[in-house]
Symmetry: D2
Subunit: 389 residues, 4 copies
Amino acid sequence: MSQPSIGVAVIGAGMVGRAHANAYRNAATVFGLGLPAPRLVAVADLHEPFAADAAARYGFARAETDWRAIVDSPEVDAVSIAVANGLHREITEAALAAGKHVLCEKPLAPSVADAQAMVEAAAAAPGQVDAVGFTFRRSPAINAIKQQVEGALGPVRHFVGNYWCDYGYDPGRPMSWRYLGGPGSGVLADIGSHLVDLAEFFCGATVGVQGTTMATLVTDRPRPLGVAMGHAGDVQVSDERVPVENEDVCTFTTSYASGAVGTFSLSRVAFGHANTLRIDLFCENGTASFDLTRPAEFTIADAGPATAVNGVRTVFIGPWHPYVARGLPMDFPTVGHGQNDFFVYQARAFLDQIAGVTTLPPCPDMAHGLHNLRVLEAVVSATDKPVQL
Amino acid sequence: MSQPSIGVAVIGAGMVGRAHANAYRNAATVFGLGLPAPRLVAVADLHEPFAADAAARYGFARAETDWRAIVDSPEVDAVSIAVANGLHREITEAALAAGKHVLCEKPLAPSVADAQAMVEAAAAAPGQVDAVGFTFRRSPAINAIKQQVEGALGPVRHFVGNYWCDYGYDPGRPMSWRYLGGPGSGVLADIGSHLVDLAEFFCGATVGVQGTTMATLVTDRPRPLGVAMGHAGDVQVSDERVPVENEDVCTFTTSYASGAVGTFSLSRVAFGHANTLRIDLFCENGTASFDLTRPAEFTIADAGPATAVNGVRTVFIGPWHPYVARGLPMDFPTVGHGQNDFFVYQARAFLDQIAGVTTLPPCPDMAHGLHNLRVLEAVVSATDKPVQL
Amino acid sequence: MSQPSIGVAVIGAGMVGRAHANAYRNAATVFGLGLPAPRLVAVADLHEPFAADAAARYGFARAETDWRAIVDSPEVDAVSIAVANGLHREITEAALAAGKHVLCEKPLAPSVADAQAMVEAAAAAPGQVDAVGFTFRRSPAINAIKQQVEGALGPVRHFVGNYWCDYGYDPGRPMSWRYLGGPGSGVLADIGSHLVDLAEFFCGATVGVQGTTMATLVTDRPRPLGVAMGHAGDVQVSDERVPVENEDVCTFTTSYASGAVGTFSLSRVAFGHANTLRIDLFCENGTASFDLTRPAEFTIADAGPATAVNGVRTVFIGPWHPYVARGLPMDFPTVGHGQNDFFVYQARAFLDQIAGVTTLPPCPDMAHGLHNLRVLEAVVSATDKPVQL
Amino acid sequence: MSQPSIGVAVIGAGMVGRAHANAYRNAATVFGLGLPAPRLVAVADLHEPFAADAAARYGFARAETDWRAIVDSPEVDAVSIAVANGLHREITEAALAAGKHVLCEKPLAPSVADAQAMVEAAAAAPGQVDAVGFTFRRSPAINAIKQQVEGALGPVRHFVGNYWCDYGYDPGRPMSWRYLGGPGSGVLADIGSHLVDLAEFFCGATVGVQGTTMATLVTDRPRPLGVAMGHAGDVQVSDERVPVENEDVCTFTTSYASGAVGTFSLSRVAFGHANTLRIDLFCENGTASFDLTRPAEFTIADAGPATAVNGVRTVFIGPWHPYVARGLPMDFPTVGHGQNDFFVYQARAFLDQIAGVTTLPPCPDMAHGLHNLRVLEAVVSATDKPVQL
Ligand SMILES: NC(=O)C1=CN([C@@H]2O[C@H](COP(=O)(O)OP(=O)(O)OC[C@H]3O[C@@H](n4cnc5c(N)ncnc54)[C@H](O)[C@@H]3O)[C@@H](O)[C@H]2O)C=CC1
Ligand SMILES: NC(=O)C1=CN([C@@H]2O[C@H](COP(=O)(O)OP(=O)(O)OC[C@H]3O[C@@H](n4cnc5c(N)ncnc54)[C@H](O)[C@@H]3O)[C@@H](O)[C@H]2O)C=CC1
Ligand SMILES: NC(=O)C1=CN([C@@H]2O[C@H](COP(=O)(O)OP(=O)(O)OC[C@H]3O[C@@H](n4cnc5c(N)ncnc54)[C@H](O)[C@@H]3O)[C@@H](O)[C@H]2O)C=CC1
Ligand SMILES: NC(=O)C1=CN([C@@H]2O[C@H](COP(=O)(O)OP(=O)(O)OC[C@H]3O[C@@H](n4cnc5c(N)ncnc54)[C@H](O)[C@@H]3O)[C@@H](O)[C@H]2O)C=CC1
């Protein structure tokens, strides 16, 4: 406990920026007691009320409107970048150049070229931690399945991943950065990036992408009159409609070096599915599934029980699973947890890395984020013909 | 009721042949009372004990071992062909030539060429009904969803279909006709044919298939010592192992003339899934799903209820749904029914067609079965490049 | 197979009478082949169109309007009595006196005194089978659980039973025999009789009933203008409303000789629950549940799997469970079945008993039906004070 | 924001004490921004390592082993009492006498007499807030249902409550305060107190309790060798076994002034149920349910949707439900939350009451806790005869 405390800041106080701010606030309350509570230095958002709210709410000393104030601050050791994808590169490069540890949100950048530049910037700052926010790698249930895949279930042979959201379903919802950019910058980049990463978490390296098919169902959206946060159900809109530039739906198949095959279906216009990330893993010795709508459980089936009493088991996460013991104040099974907790565990891993503690698996680094973009690029190319990686 | 009764027979008394035999026995007990009970003439199976059991059990007058005895019998007016796919053409042609009405199991044939010949044979027998056994088109729940797609839900924009079985999971299960034939004759033909058909039931004509990826996980199987029926868990096997010739897993994406896109994942080696045909339909005004593991229900979500109390509804099939009123002796919701009932409804539709009654939608004809094979052929070709239909 | 075939008839062609008629039609198609198909002699119903429909539909030779025509017919060997409870005694006594085997619906009678008389009548006809229709004892899933309770799960310690229906929810539904009679003749007799019986199926003899609380929520109903069948959603009603005489809701607790305790909640006015019979069994070594809304599955949890992958298993009924192998034409897991099938299995057991075949567990006899009424009587008395049996 | 910050402390750093400590840490991060972050003064636990861990983890300035150090501290304005029930009275009386605001855990005390004394102590300190920890009243889902009961669903007619835990299932788990005391001090006091309170939250005042039946299935337990926390799966035990003094299972029925009836089943030995609090509410115009194993959702059914597409809806909690908007960092539906969050909302309500803010419903006071004990006392008495309240 004699370690110096780490000064942290968050750039972007929109939907996910709040989760980062809360995560730093609570990162030292989970797991082992070794980490000093980080110093909560500042939150920055172009829109001052968002920065002010998040700073006041989560106990950060300052609210800023210019991210450079954070990059320039000597009090800040580590920074989360939680703004639209198009801003990731510039801020990351500046923060790394200023000597900060950087946790940048996914997808790492809008293009492979940008991501490549970010990886080079990280390589030029070898003493600093560079990380990308594949938060689902911090899910207790997903890690519980991972343990089984590396154990009794054995390797994945067939991976089926759906990520269905409804944030874009309503054509009355305002235009935002999420709807701008070329093919692949839509649902694929926004939520497909998570699913592509999870597939590799379980199956290893992607070697082929095939059959990509995309559709845009809502072709224009109203211009917002105020600042739209997240999926922006509440902002006022004008009568003017702006064209949507990227895909609402995307589906494709994949192959892995392990021999596994994958099926992906992505949608941001799936009525009734607020945030359904569902994966089904068919393994050598059984089957497992996870559905984000019930984040604290998973299912598994294997040949253990006798046939007459065998079936898919619903397992609730308990203290014997990864990230649960002391990861929640009360930590028994069925107590419940959710996506916001994954951000706390991610923040803890990032801070531990900075502090040189190696108990938790480290966050994926920017090279990993670059790899993810290469797979996404392959997905876009696979519209015409199978692509090999 | 002054109509003459129809003489019926079943060729093949394996897994699905029994369902046909039972279906004829009970076809006149469902729905309206107009149809005279058919005369249950004969069941044929190469393996005599199967023929004898089915005939005795379901009340057919004769058991035969040679299917020609059925084709040649003047007492038989209509015949179900429920044998391995490779035998469909020869028997269908002979039966049609002999003046019989024919209900042939799916997939119609092992190849487009065979199916084309069968369609020609049917065309040459214009007074006879020719039908193919896409049984799921008789599911009350699937038809309940169809009504909504044609009504309040509106057109399907994204179709996601899984058909996951475990019949091939155990490498100790014996070799059978299901594991022989070239690429596409495996899980794609066996259960994928159903799913491809259901997708068209909801989305209309397929115009593109992309990204087909296949895998064979169990590469050889033991030679059976007795006659293996269905998925043959119970037959004795020899030490000798025979190569599996076709795919266990198959995944691909599709496009429809309507603009809809589709995602397919098929497996016959999915531990824990006896028979999981699951479809998710994302429509213009909502979402609906069906899962064959709970055959008497479906789910639906739309914008009807107020947001604070809205969510996916689990609907149990009741007498106000298609095929339920008088389709079961007690017919209230949650009373339960299953796949065997779909065969009864299919038999009833086939017999009604023969009798000239037009209350029920007719069975898909062999031209439809041919079309289905053309899509399957496209799926096989789409391994290398997108295929347009 | 040289046995003479049994002549069967059904008295009452209402909701459940149809299930009996269909059951006799198909009883010889299930399980072993020993039983000759019964002769389908006659169906009787006071309302001629119901008798005619059921006879024509299920293939019975004659339709009658007077049940005495059945009792008097020398062609009839066995009869199902499927009319309102108040008629059970008179018809049973007459049928037994006429030398018939009798399967009478539950509850055996409206009163213990009536049931006692019926048991005496049965005792006076020792060569005839007397049976009562506790159909859920024929459910494959319930029997699968029973096997475990007698095996690995061990004795039940706590039984929780809900039976929630909505047939009485709508105050616009017509008056019928179900709403007439004193306290206990309502939801308790109608569906509670099943649940009380199932509790004893699992826990053994009831020794105490406590805390009975009843409520009538719909206090009058419109007089029907036509003949109301079953729950009668479709019959026209008059403006005149008739008082409901018995309870809509009933709840109580129980004790068993084994030391087990029970919790019961019954309702016929439970919106959204067409027919939810749910039981939860807490046993010495684990837990099991059954819910009639998904009749072909059950759940179980025990200490078999390792803690990190343990949870409640959803088991789909397959051919290795009781009553499934050859109990359905296609009989693999998830194929689906329902309550109508339970009646087929019950009819088979009844006919086997008549034929002297002892493969299946026999139907509960009228003495058992009398015992059930004694427990129901105790439930009614336990409004004031605990009752010991 | 010019309000002085409130000094808070927690007495008892066992299972639930941690949840209180975390709750104070985060209470000002939720909902509106008006509340200054409370000063985290101290955590006390007889077992020093527990106090030290909780203080360090959640950022409290001091760890104490004697609760009097907290009661005596001028820095402390408000205190949570989170120790065994037998200690509630003494600590509450001392804390109130010392001028503290008190939030005491449920059940308020081991007896009505103790609770009465506490209420008197609270009455003697009129300027101080007295509260009891019925945390489920802070569940978003439960409050979402409450809104409907007061709105479209209408009054509850039949309440069915199960609370099934497995913490006592394993006879190898150590003796603790939970297993000591007379009848009613077992599962009834421990978890039944919550369910009795929730029933009144929905149905209003209890006027009758009937038919109480109790059972103790694990009659002795090993003496722990270390300090056992919560359900104490991890502490070492001696060979010596100590008698269990109270009930494992408890079931009874209830009546409410509104005319509603209730069914209760409680167990702490229910294998496979870590913490299943399930309520089913049958209301005038529909049905709703909540199950704590999925804390962020509820189900509802009403006559809104057309019959053919009607069924039970699964509603995921979103920002339009009580306590969700800004109650979580990311607050969209399916993001997930759990029991620990309920404690944060409870702490916020308690602190708001102290600060004179009236936005949230206040915590139930000790008079309410006393009333709860009176109902529990009636439950115990209703073993012999119905009890009226
Ligand atoms: N890991 C995960 O599960 C999630 C990751 N994300 C990622 O996080 C990032 C942000 O997404 P959301 O929070 O949903 O977006 P958002 O639109 O809700 O918030 C972005 C915020 O950035 C602010 N901003 C814009 N320009 C700025 C600038 N120059 N300087 C400072 N602030 C600026 C905006 O005012 C806004 O408040 C994206 O990269 C997204 O892909 C988003 C949601 C979940
Ligand atoms: N519509 C549906 O849901 C289903 C359709 N099917 C289709 O039904 C057909 C049969 O499949 P299964 O019943 O599963 O096969 P199976 O292998 O269980 O049964 C085939 C039967 O045909 C008999 N047979 C073989 N050669 C014969 C001959 N020359 N003459 C007479 N009988 C002969 C065999 O002895 C065997 O009993 C296939 O086309 C299959 O694709 C199968 C299952 C379900
Ligand atoms: N085992 C089970 O799961 C079930 C058992 N039941 C029992 O079956 C019996 C009948 O119930 P439902 O079929 O629901 O009643 P229902 O009211 O639908 O049918 C009764 C039929 O009896 C006819 N009937 C009335 N008086 C008659 C007479 N004197 N002679 C001949 N027919 C006469 C009526 O016209 C009517 O069609 C009851 O005892 C009930 O408790 C009912 C439903 C399910
Ligand atoms: N609202 C809710 O959902 C819940 C409420 N509870 C209630 O909270 C209370 C505590 O329960 P648990 O935390 O489960 O018990 P626990 O046994 O886990 O913790 C009690 C703690 O009190 C400490 N302690 C004992 N004597 C003390 C003393 N004289 N001074 C200071 N500390 C002392 C013990 O060392 C132990 O750490 C009980 O009243 C229980 O009914 C418990 C669980 C959930």
